[in-house]
Symmetry: C2
Subunit: 426 residues, 2 copies
């Protein structure tokens, strides 16, 4: 039943009974975590053979004869470029292979922009009176934090089921102070939305006031499908940008963080050759080269893009039951209450829960007091402030299924209590 | 015989005969490289068991229970901190363990200073009208390039056998625009000089105009002794800085690049807790963590600082004969000619050759035409300009002994020709 159709006294009775249930659970002293998109140990165990791909008897040379143990090859080994070009549908000569974290490549990219500008900048972004960056929200807190740390002004863009609201984006980018936009275009963090072809096309083609506008295209979940028969397809932004003469607009990022090991994977950056020619001298001042043995380890282990896709199917078998626990619990406990709605993604790492406006913080506090840690409420919005106090990011990957079920029971109970608390006051 | 004591016609005859010798060698079509301080394949082969230290059956957890495969622990795993604290004589709680390259940590450190300032800065360095950085020269070209890339003004400080000329340094640092100094304090690149206790003390204690002055203490060759019975001792700059209340002045860097693999080692940064508290929020915006499995691999393989020192003794057995080839050839071919003098380091990766003023570039060109690549002449000075056109950095580690001997024969021949060419014109 929809809680708003209950009488005030029915709402109060229900609240009292839920509060009793809550006190019982609270007494259990749970310690559960739904806060971060970390792969579970089961997934990581399934990648352990990667560590056997290089041993003391391995040939440490790349296919071009370069000794991967030694200094050099700042842009990565050729076979790693080929593997990731195949996997992500990129051009080998537009790929830069970096260290273990695409976030690091993204931060460095924008730090460079602030210090030196990007291709086509009239001056370093740091010399501009103000740099604004578009943040589709709900979005990834660490994206927003990079821009905020670098002193940029964060401009919220609402998300739609097709991606960022492009009417809003097209209007905002007329401002030359708007230098870029953060995008997690496939199975977006946290909504699990894949940008529609129309959205990608409009991003690639739109006219921008800034000549040096950049799209931070973080394709973090490029091959992270949950269901073999329901795979979202993301349009090729480079191809669409080409048609509009905007290839230089795209800064593309991806990594194996949720393919192999989050702590010890390989990250890549892709951009037009003109962009790379502007960037590489700075990276060459920053380092003599990233870890080439780890690149080689990944290439020797996975060998082909096809094998990586097979591996992702295996990992999905660990993730799928967890998403099913989340979605079925939400359905069962909140389905007809009118307390919340949520996304049902085909991939990625999150379910985005929208509770009744003004109830997210209270839900978070109730969960916390009962031993269930959620992603900080507001984290999915610029400056950590959800204007509707509604969005809660659920990250089901890390806990065991048993713990996840317990945590979801607590979460849905807390949502109902938080919503009823506001209703009885109305 | 000293060439300057020869008559003009004797000089001409000698030059003609050396030129004939040169033409014969040139015809051989050599392709030899003395340019970069890369370990030789023999050294890298001696480290291959490192790759067996982690395999599919290994426990991937750090001693604090953290799963090194997953996200997190931005400052590194505790056992890596302990190992490097023991090895370099640092405090565990002042160590940050990073990725594979200390150069990357150094660049990021100064990029952060430009963007945000350091502890005690009134504003980001990038907002200052000018930032000057002291560059003891001859020095490491990549240090100078970091500062130059970041838009700093490079100020040359002459090197003495005790380290940077401290009378000059103490005078220059009175200028508040001077924000720091590059130091490679042990077996310096390229001179192989270890700073005297007096030099380290004066660096630690000197009064600086800038309140946020920093010493970039790149202890790249901390444990890189060549001879078991001739080990240079470097004073503890943290202890000396403490005595003067200047602990925050020190940014300390080191790595296993020339201990394990240059392309896949582990780099560390050490600084006071107050410095780390200012820095860590920025690094936490930049990355979720560096490669913890590679940290664990190094800890599991080396286990103790003592074992690393033993390993360095083994590596020295590969390097020593190469240094002996360089030094004995210099002695034999240039010893009494007055054409050059050179350093005789007890460790590190280089011999610094000083040819007669105005003859280094010509030597470089002669070598190049005969198929021997040297480090770019001038590279060891700010802006790549050696005011005396005299210094040539010899890097003996990479070529085989046979190739090294050939290259040294060519180099010393070219030095003699270059010097005689100027003499016959005088």
């Amino acid at each position: 039943m929809n809680y708003s159709s209950l009488s005030k006294s029915e709402q109060k009775d229900l609240l009292t009974s839920l509060q009793k249930e809550y006190e019982t659970i609270k007494a259990c002293g749970l310690a559960l975590d739904l806060s971060r998109g970390k792969p579970g140990a089961d997934q990581l165990d399934a990648c352990m053979d990667l560590l056997n791909a290089l041993d003391a008897n391995s040939d440490p040379h790349a296919e071009n004869g370069f000794d991967c143990r030694n200094y050099g090859l700042v842009d990565g080994i050729p076979e790693a470029k080929k593997l990731f070009a195949d996997l992500f549908g990129l051009r080998e000569d537009e790929i830069f292979v970096g260290g273990n974290a695409s976030l690091n490549l993204m931060f460095d990219t924008l730090a460079r922009a602030m210090l030196f500008g990007v291709l086509g900048s009239e001056r370093p972004w740091g010399k501009e009176p103000v740099v604004k960056f578009l943040c589709p929200a709900p979005g990834y807190d660490r994206h927003f934090r990079v821009s905020q740390t670098l002193g940029m002004e964060l401009v919220t863009v609402p998300m739609t089921p097709q991606g960022p609201d492009m009417d809003v984006v097209e209007e905002l980018v007329k401002d030359p102070a708007v230098k870029g936009i953060w995008c997690c275009p496939k199975y977006s963090n946290p909504d699990g939305i894949t940008y529609s072809d129309e959205t990608v096309k409009r991003l690639a083609e739109m006219k921008t006031g800034a000549k040096d506008f950049r799209i931070m295209w973080d394709n973090a979940y490029a091959v992270h499908d949950l269901y073999p028969d329901k795979k979202d397809q993301l349009a090729d932004i480079f191809a669409l940008a080409d048609a509009a003469g905007n290839r230089d607009r795209i800064f593309y990022f991806a990594s194996t963080s949720k393919i192999s090991f989050p702590g010890a994977g390989v990250a890549i950056f892709a951009a037009s050759k003109a962009n790379l020619a502007q960037i590489l001298p700075y990276i060459s001042a920053q380092t003599i080269g990233y870890d080439k043995l780890n690149m080689l380890r990944h290439v020797r282990y996975y060998k082909t893009a096809e094998n990586i896709l097979k591996h992702m199917e295996l990992l999905a078998t660990y993730l799928r039951p967890k998403f099913e626990i989340v979605l079925s619990t939400l359905d069962r406990e909140l389905g007809n209450t009118g307390c919340a709605h949520w996304t049902k993604p085909n991939g990625g790492y999150f379910v985005s829960l929208f509770v009744k406006e003004g109830c997210a913080k209270r839900t978070y506090e109730l969960c916390k007091a009962a031993g269930v840690k959620l992603t900080d409420v507001g984290a999915t919005y610029p400056y950590g402030k959800d204007p509707h106090d509604s969005n809660i990011r659920i990250a089901p990957s890390y806990p065991s299924r048993e713990d996840l079920q317990k945590a979801m029971n607590v979460l849905t109970l807390c949502v109902r209590i938080a919503v009823l608390e506001t209703m009885v006051k109305e």
